[in-house]
Symmetry: C2
Subunit: 102 residues, 2 copies
C-alpha cells in the first residue's frame, strides 16, 4: 500500500485552503463625471459576483474630473479580476500586481 503526503504551505494556501492571493491595482479610464452613487453601484456589481472567481475587492478611488478609477483587490490572478470587471460591465484598462505594500 502506497501513501502520498502533501504539504500545503502558508504561501500557497489561504485560510480557506484556496489558492494563493495577490494584491492587484487596476485602473479604469474615461469615467469622467462619475458620481458617488455610480461608483458605489459599479462596486456593488463587482461584489455581487466576485466570489465566483475568488476575488475580494477592497477599495476603489475615483477622480471624476479626469475620469480615472483605481481599484484595489485581492485575487488569485489578474485574469480573475479582469473577468469580474468585464462581466460587471466595466472592464479595466490596466492591471498591476502590487505584491509590495507599505
Amino acid at each position: 500500500m502506497k501513501h502520498r503526503f502533501y504539504q500545503v504551505t502558508g504561501d500557497l494556501a489561504g485560510a480557506d485552503g484556496g489558492k494563493a492571493m495577490t494584491k492587484f491595482m487596476d485602473v479604469h479610464r474615461g469615467m469622467n463625471g462619475i458620481s458617488a452613487e455610480q461608483l458605489n453601484q459599479a462596486h456593488q456589481a463587482d461584489l455581487a459576483i466576485q466570489s465566483e472567481e475568488g476575488v475580494v475587492f477592497e477599495h476603489a478611488w475615483a477622480d471624476p474630473d479626469e475620469g480615472v478609477i483605481y481599484c484595489l483587490s485581492d485575487a488569485p490572478s489578474a485574469e480573475a479580476v479582469m473577468r469580474i470587471h468585464q462581466r460587471a460591465g466595466h472592464p479595466a484598462d490596466e492591471i498591476h500586481a502590487v505584491p509590495l505594500e507599505v
Copy 2:
C-alpha cells in the same frame, strides 16, 4: 470700533482647525525592481517631512515588475503632495484628486 467675524465651516476645517483635506492617488513610474525595503525607505522619507505640508501618506503599493507605485494620501492640495515627494527624492509622475471612495 469695527468687528470682523469669521465662520469656519466643517468643510473647510479639519479636526485640528486646519485646511480642508482631499484624498490623492499619485503614481511613480520607472521603479522597476524596487524591493520591499526600498519601498519602505521611500515611504519613511515622506513620513519624516509630511507634516511640513500638512500631508498624511496612508499607503503605497508597488509593482516591481512594471515599475509602478501607487501612493495614497490625504492632503490640503496636490502641490503639497508633490512637494513632499520631490523633497524626499522621488517626484511623482502623475497625481489625481480622488474625492470619491468605496
